[in-house]
Amino acid sequence: MRRIAPLGLRTRLIAAFLLVAAISAVTTAALTYQQARNAILKQTQDTAVSTLRDQVEQQEVRLPLDQTELQRIVIELGKRGKPHPWIIFGEYGGVRVSTNPGTPTSSVITDNLREKVRRHNYTAFQRVEDQRGNPWLTVGVPALFEHNGSTVSTGAVFYASVPLSTEKQTVEAMVDAAKQGAVPGLAIAIVPALLAARSVLRPVRDMRRAAQRLGSGRLDTRIEVRGADELAGLARTFNETARALEQSVRELQDAEVRARRFASDVSHELRTPLAGMLAVTEVLDEDAERLDADTAKALRLVSAETGKLAVLVEDLMEISRFDARAAELNLDDVDVAEAVRKTLERRHWVDDRIVTELPERVRARLDPRRFDVVLANLVGNALRHGGAPVRVTVRTAPGEDGERLLIDVADSGPGIAPEVLPHIFDRFFKADAARTRSAGSGLGLAITLENVRLHGGTLLAANGPAGGAVFTLDMPLEARA
């Protein structure tokens, strides 16, 4: 089922205008035609009928009529045709004569007409068409005479057949004129249609543009209100809505900025005391050896937690910078295989827990530090939450805009629970609600995702066919800062 595309407002308006114009043109033309045709025909009819009647009355019909006498009268009548030359037929009993010597009986005079004339002894007429479609007016006049004050029929009837081709042409000319007048009329009707369409469409189009701008984030968009019609009312409403929207969005943004700045400020403030504390953890750890068990335990606890706190604060700072869009890419051209190997070596993941598939001589443009963080986080998670062996696969594939770098990190663990999967990149998300704080800050995957996005890439978490979790990193081979 294909729906027909809806017609535009402009098209519909023009169509309506044309329809109205067409209806009026056709109605006017039809009425005019009818009236004019009737008037023309009536005039012809009346002239022909009255002329024939007068002529017949003036003829002295001497009964009994013979063929010769009848012929004489017919010829006499035939000379006085009005408004057009006519053909006269005389009928008296079985005698038939006409002005056309070849055809004594007319082909256009109907029995119907004869019947009327005979029955009523009165003039009758009828409009007929011959076989060729030419219109004729046929008039029948009985020859009467006065006898003792009453009118008596002689039995002779004279018929005239008048060609109406002139009238037909006149009427046809009128129809043509009406037709030819209607087309420019319709064409002219398009002008007001267009004007009306424009006056409606322009505000509608302005509103559409404004709505698009509003949608693309330009919340200060307003429409010029012209006049006081419904469209102006709509424009006013639009402006009020935009104003309200702008205000609430601004309030939200301000609140968000405040919240972010607070998080950032807090981490900044925490960093200074932590720097002092972290510098002396070594001293605590060393001296704990020589103190009693409780003190030693307490010192080690302080030392260990200081380390964790430092990591957490560092991660918070990192996330704050992403939120504030202050994170920068420092791009460099690197050999991907070498970068991956370096990341693994630095963290001493060089034994058989890690299986790598690294194509040689793949050069990428990326931020080496961020890339290192991403890969270390994915592999670290795979070892910690999944299980060895962890498989790191690097490949390239053509993408829509240039080559893509694809890296899979798959573990051999039980996989990620389906209810956890959607939240795996959430901040501080704990896969197990009852789980205590792990070694990580709870921000690792969130930071990893942000780092990948910064490169213009995506990161997907899924469960592989063999059951382990698979993280797929997909980013452009040539990142753009």
Binding site: R271, T272, A275, G276, L278, A279, E282, E286, R365
Partner: protein
């Protein structure tokens, strides 16, 4: 053990870092402001300066410039990651390396050692003095002269130049240089290399011509020559 001058306005970091380093046998002298630190430069004659970038009064970047006017002592900046702009400005001002706060003492000491480490001659039997165009490089004396005039170079600059010129026309990636010259085994930051190259160029290259000695190979890194 080296004499370290620590310029840091926050007392807890000053004390903590000072304590940690002294425990590892360093001779540490501390200053709470840039002015104080600059005043200590003459008397204490540090072999290395640990410099906080965010200082009250004259800031770390200005202190760095002032030190560089008279001395080529190694300078390591203490920064917070995220003060990205400051790192670049600090490196431009002549710092050799930087440490992100908060840092453990072992990390700080590793950076100190890396900066102080004399670059081992990558190719064993070399004459002490080499001539490359207008440059005279004395590998044994760790000095460089241009047209016979000695060019004062900071430790990272001389290391970089020695490393590149030891294998003329060989291209080194930024990552390789970070490892060889800075001993950075983690969070490699290529801006360190770029800033150092820029500083080195202002000292040894002709200002009006394109670089002759340290050439950029787009998409790969840097090389020395060909002259």
């Amino acid at each position: 053990m080296p004499r370290v001058l620590l310029i840091e306005d926050d007392p807890s970091i000053r004390e903590g870092v000072g304590l940690g380093l002294r425990r590892r046998g360093h001779d540490v002298s501390s200053a709470g402001t840039g002015e104080e630190g600059l005043a200590l430069m003459g008397g204490f004659r540090p072999e290395l300066v640990l410099l906080d970038l965010m200082l009250p009064g004259i800031n770390g970047v200005q202190v760095c410039r002032r030190i560089r006017e008279t001395s080529q002592v190694p300078i390591i900046m203490l920064t917070a990651r995220g003060d990205d702009f400051d790192i670049v400005v600090g490196l431009e001002a002549g710092a050799d390396d930087y440490i992100v706060k908060p840092a453990r003492t072992e990390v700080i000491e590793a950076r100190i050692k890396a900066v102080l480490r004399r670059l081992s001659d990558p190719v064993g039997s070399r004459p002490g003095v080499e001539h490359h165009g207008e440059l005279t490089i004395d590998r044994a004396g760790l000095s460089v002269a241009k047209n016979g005039e000695r060019v004062p170079l900071a430790p990272s600059e001389i290391k970089l130049l020695l490393h590149l010129s030891a294998s003329p026309e060989q291209v080194f990636s930024r990552q390789q240089l970070l490892e060889y010259v800075w001993d950075h085994s983690y969070h490699a930051d290529a801006r360190l290399v770029d800033a150092c190259v820029r500083r080195l160029r202002t000292k040894v290259e002709d200002p009006d011509a394109s670089p002759r000695y340290i050439q950029t190979v787009r998409g790969f890194g840097y090389r020395f020559g060909p002259l």
